[in-house]
Symmetry: C2
Subunit: 212 residues, 2 copies
Amino acid sequence: MTHHDTATKLLDAAEQLFAEQGFAETTLRAITQKAGVNLAAVNYHFGSKEALIQAVFQRFMDPFSEAITKQLDQLGEHEEMVTLEWLLGVLVALAIGNTEKEQERALIFFRLAGLAYTQSQDHLRRFFKQRYAALFERYLRLLCNALPEIPPTELFLRSHFALGSVIFTLQGFTSMQQISQQDFGNPLGLDKVVERLLPFVVAGFRAPYGAS
Amino acid sequence: MTHHDTATKLLDAAEQLFAEQGFAETTLRAITQKAGVNLAAVNYHFGSKEALIQAVFQRFMDPFSEAITKQLDQLGEHEEMVTLEWLLGVLVALAIGNTEKEQERALIFFRLAGLAYTQSQDHLRRFFKQRYAALFERYLRLLCNALPEIPPTELFLRSHFALGSVIFTLQGFTSMQQISQQDFGNPLGLDKVVERLLPFVVAGFRAPYGAS
DNA sequence: TTCTGTTTTAAACGTACGTTTGAAACCTCT
DNA sequence: AGAGGTTTCAAACGTACGTTTAAAACAGAA
């Protein structure tokens, strides 16, 4: 089933190490060692470290982006009557997955997303914009349908605010989990946190506009 | 007035470069060159690059932390009747400042905060926890007073959500500014964004709890 | 001025990085 | 079995990093 060819092994090792340590901090020597392959393999199969970083993101984003597109396509003619809850629900369901394995990988995904936003990797930002901007715009248009009382410029901002809540929270999830555990004795699962994140974001999106 | 001694020049150069490129990506050679001092100056005055990073944060955080403490102290006996808007207002006013110069530096601060959260600099997380955890707990306690209908564990989470919105948004502020400009033709000042960020966060904090 | 401690300087050190190389190993056809 | 193309491998390359060093420059007190 899983070929476990060298390229795949490299992607597996890289995504985990990148998520743990960041891009600049993760060396090709660490990646190739974890993957159990030769140091030169990265440059042979991907060309460079930058290209490997992009490949890691692409492997995450492409299925995600495709799944969202499929969901949005199913709307058909009913685009006008879509709700905020439905839109966010689609994202959440696809992002966090069902099985424990999937959720574990979702955390890596969020951590990487946070890194992509933070680290000055300009090539990554260009890559994202070029490849996924259209999807974001389509989603934003639906958001405008769902919340017609909020102007589009404000929804653009609020989607960034919401994205910030989610990525920031989930990228530091494991460490926050520890803090929360020792402060309150509550073990928190990823799904539990998302369950509590959602009302926060929904309320933020629905906040009355113009009421200074 | 400003001594502009070597250590200060180094902190000035370092905080700007760190904010632009991240910690690992900024070399001591770049810092010392920008500061116009000798390469060895960092190790002479601070001991190491890590220590310089901490010093940069300390110069930002200590006055900020002190100012907040002073504001909270002024509450005196009225701690019980503090409002959410007042608590957030204190933070906002102190964080973004008044003059344009202050706001410019505030952006650097947010960018650094985002970096500190994202990059795996464990020494920084330890430094933060050890030095500012008490203040955060005090603030959280006041938040519980202001929103007694929301349980503390939930407020702990929501404060992380809110922090995420703010830091995530403002750390990528300049790039978002460009996108927003070209998409909607709106030039956005920092104060304008914060003005729109605040209702989002307030609504999130006030979201009814338990209404799944 | 001379002495003493501090600061600055140019140069070098050792290390670790991403990348390149050329030969060996492997695979797949005929 | 052997040729040809692909993949792996150990080794090395060149570069850039953080740090150290030892001498020079500077400062203030005696």
